[in-house]
């Protein structure tokens, strides 16, 4: 008994292979089997995708699934359902769970739960240091063998330059990329938002953009020193993007991601929303010049991919004074639609470039299966409906959490179908 699924009549865009044509796509037993002008059904289940865009499955390099430990915020089951509904076929799970994913046993437990309950693929990220405390290296070899695809102390910067150097060096031995949350801790102390005129008016303590850029510059220099592979998590300032750009020009192995929230919002929203805690995140929403710098990075390649930094929190964590609120916003179920409407339809980047940013490049950065529709590749496919208009309604999220600043936004373009390993993980209206 074989598993055959035929997507018929769609516009297929696979930027990695410069494909943009009306093609039929046949998936057999979890792999891409044929991509031709016309493919006969021959007993396959047929889905008519005419009028829709078919692309290699989207991969989120930056997701917080919260399991183990904070299942009140999200679980592997709910987080991956949110991912599927948002058009993602795979998510990379950040290790700041409780306990931190800093050893193979925890990695295996995450993968077992994902195999049982996951709607999409889950690629665990291990910790850079034990307990993400920044003091001793975690066991990269064991974690790699158990299934980790990168290391990160996300949520906490690696404060010590010496520790970061060792991490970049040691990770080379296991072909692991080091993903750093860049934030100079002493400059960000006590901050709730971006430093600047808006924070001043609101009386909130701000973290200067320079605090991020300092660490990006340091990390790029350390990647150059060690030859290690560095990925900058959620770049939020123009200066950070520029540091990555200059590093790339020198041949440093550095890549960077940006989130939809930092690409579309600024710190002004903290003021106009009157301290709405769904605008509180780390890195914070920055100034308009920074937002423009990130968009420029998407266009010229300094920024490699778009990641969500999906950070679910309970109502209790957010329905408090601004200073006391948890950092972070959910993003899996809004990211793709936001990018289609506000980046592609707005004319800032092409649809092909967006697919690169959400699929081709994330797969390449961590060497993950997918990111392509070449025959033999994993049958992970995202189908987009560029014309569907909808209003973001947090009450209908699959995620356990609702902490989004995008509630009520009307967007044109949305995921229509998410296929993981040749099977439909989610379909609009299905």
């Amino acid at each position: 008994m074989t598993d055959r699924l035929l997507l018929k009549g769609g516009r297929v865009i696979d930027p990695g292979r410069s494909v943009d044509a009306d093609l039929d796509l046949l998936l057999v037993d979890g792999e891409v089997a044929e991509l031709e002008t016309r493919v006969a059904a021959r007993g396959a289940e047929v889905i008519d995708v005419s009028g829709l865009v078919v692309c290699p499955g989207f991969i989120d390099l930056h997701t917080h699934l919260r399991q183990p430990g904070r299942e009140d915020k999200e679980t592997i089951a709910t987080g991956t359902r949110a991912a599927a509904a948002g058009g993602f076929t795979a998510v990379c799970a950040m290790p700041n769970t409780e306990p931190v994913n800093d050893q193979a046993g925890i990695t295996r437990a995450i993968l077992e739960a994902a195999a049982r309950e996951g709607a999409v693929r889950v690629w665990p990220i291990g910790a850079i240091t034990r307990g993400s405390k920044g003091e001793e290296l975690a066991e990269y070899g064991d974690m790699r063998e158990a299934g980790c695809v990168a290391v990160s102390d996300d949520g906490r910067p690696v404060a010590s330059a010496r520790m970061m150097r060792r991490a970049l060096e040691y990770a080379k031995g296991f072909d692991l990329t080091v993903i750093d949350h860049c934030e100079e801790p002493t400059l960000a102390q006590g901050a709730s938002m971006n430093e600047g005129a808006v924070a001043t008016m609101l009386g909130l303590r701000g973290a200067p953009g320079a605090g991020e850029a300092i660490m990006v510059e340091r990390d790029v220099l350390l990647a150059e020193l060690t030859g290690g592979k560095l990925h900058i998590a959620h770049a939020s300032t123009a200066a950070s993007v520029d540091a990555v750009r200059r590093g790339k020009a020198r041949g440093v192995r550095v890549t960077a991601e940006a989130t939809p929230q930092h690409l579309l919002l600024t710190d002004e929203l903290v003021r106009t929303s009157e301290y709405d805690t769904s605008t509180k995140m780390n890195p914070p929403l920055r100034a308009e010049e920074d937002r423009q710098g990130l968009i420029q990075g998407l266009r010229d390649g300094a920024v490699d991919c778009i990641a969500t930094d999906h950070a679910p929190h309970t109502v209790d964590d957010k329905k408090v004074e601004y200073d006391a609120a948890a950092f972070g916003v959910v993003g899996l179920e809004t990211a793709v639609a936001l990018c289609l409407d506000r980046l592609v339809a707005a004319g800032l980047i092409s649809l092909g470039r967006l697919i690169e940013l959400l699929s081709t490049r994330p797969a390449a950065i961590l060497g993950l299966p997918g990111g392509t529709l070449a025959p033999g590749a994993a049958a992970d496919v995202t189908v987009l409906d560029l014309s569907r208009r909808h209003k973001v309604d947090p009450a209908r999220f699959h995620s356990k959490s609702r902490n989004t600043p995008f509630g009520g936004w009307t967007l044109k373009g949305a995921p229509a179908l998410t296929i993981v390993g040749g099977r439909v993980a989610w379909g609009h209206g299905r």
């Binding site: 924070a199 701000g206 004074e321």
Partner: protein, 311 residues
């Protein structure tokens, strides 16, 4: 029908107010101030109204001032200091406020260390909210009482040159005064060591780190309190140097206009931001400020709770 003079349900800050709203509060305060000079200091304006004063930070002046204002206007009021309340048992701000609200007060006066705390309550509660100081954001009744004091002595606010000197970075008083004075047409100069000047504030008013420059030709000088912790926080090296470089001394006062007024929101650190001779000197209106504080709070209570019905 004309729009009410003060059309807001809450008083969360000066920033969202228009000049006419500020004018309305000051005029009302001026009219109500007379009550304080009567032998029987009580009018029935807010009889049957309940006000809760919810103070999460230590306060002498502001709290006493609100309490007296409430009593003079015959409101029923109670004050809750968090040091003796369920906050000590870990109750959240929202739960505390919701529980108090279940007792049907008409107004909550809130003092809290988190900027935006008053906005937070306004969003989630039914009562009228008066911000009695939120973090480093705003302290609107302080700015109103300062304005009342200036207006009484100078006859106007428009065109006055006012220097605001001290820890602008952490000061809600500075922000509220900056908004108010700017809206009323005064010319404000901010003065602080660069480490205590908040980023971006220069878009709102001229700034300087030289106190001589700030006070030169000033009609009024508003001094801000310097907290001891700022020194250990590394904002400046010593209190001695602070006083020497940024403190208000008699010599520096002489650079201002002859009839300059010296204001301080209290509590003062004598010998740090202000020399004792200046604090107790002839141009000091610091105690007038306290008296006006009661009048301004009476006006705010009246406009938010009684004004609409009375009009």
């Amino acid at each position: 029908m004309t729009a009410p003079a003060y059309p807001h349900r809450h008083l969360l800050g000066i920033e969202p107010l228009e000049a006419s709203h500020i004018q309305a509060v000051l005029d009302t305060a001026e009219a109500l101030r007379e009550v304080l000079d009567r032998p029987i200091k009580k009018v029935p304006a807010l009889r049957g109204k309940t006000v809760v004063n919810l103070f999460y930070e230590a306060s002498t002046r502001t709290r006493a001032s609100f309490e007296i204002a409430e009593k003079v206007l015959s409101a029923d009021s109670l004050s809750i200091a968090t040091s003796t309340s369920s906050v000590q048992k870990g109750e959240t701000l929202l739960d505390t406020a919701k529980n108090l609200e279940a007792m049907n007060p008409d107004m909550i006066v809130l003092r809290h260390s988190a900027s935006g705390a008053a906005h937070f309550l306004a969003r989630h509660c039914r009562s009228a909210i008066v911000n009695a100081g939120d973090g480093a954001h705003e302290h609107p009744t302080q700015a109103l009482l300062d304005a009342l004091t200036l207006r009484q002595r100078k006859g106007r606010l428009e065109g006055l040159r006012v220097a605001i000197v001290g820890d602008v970075l952490h000061s809600r008083v500075a922000r509220s005064n900056l908004w108010l004075l700017t809206k009323m047409g005064a010319k404000v100069t901010l003065c602080a060591p660069p480490t205590l000047m908040p980023p971006g504030i220069e878009t709102l008013a001229p700034t300087t780190s030289r106190i001589e420059e700030a006070v030169e030709g000033a009609d009024a000088i508003m001094m801000l309190r310097i907290q001891q912790e700022r020194m250990t926080g590394g904002y400046f090296p010593t209190l001695r140097e602070y006083h020497a470089r940024f403190g208000l001394t008699e010599e520096r006062v002489r650079l201002a206009k002859k009839d300059v007024l010296i204001l301080h929101p209290g509590p003062m650190n004598r010998g740090v931001e202000i020399a004792s001779e200046v604090a107790d000197g002839p141009y000091s209106v610091i105690l007038d400020q306290v008296t006006n504080g009661v009048a301004v709070r009476m006006a705010v209570l009246y406009l938010l709770l009684g004004g609409a019905e009375a009009a």
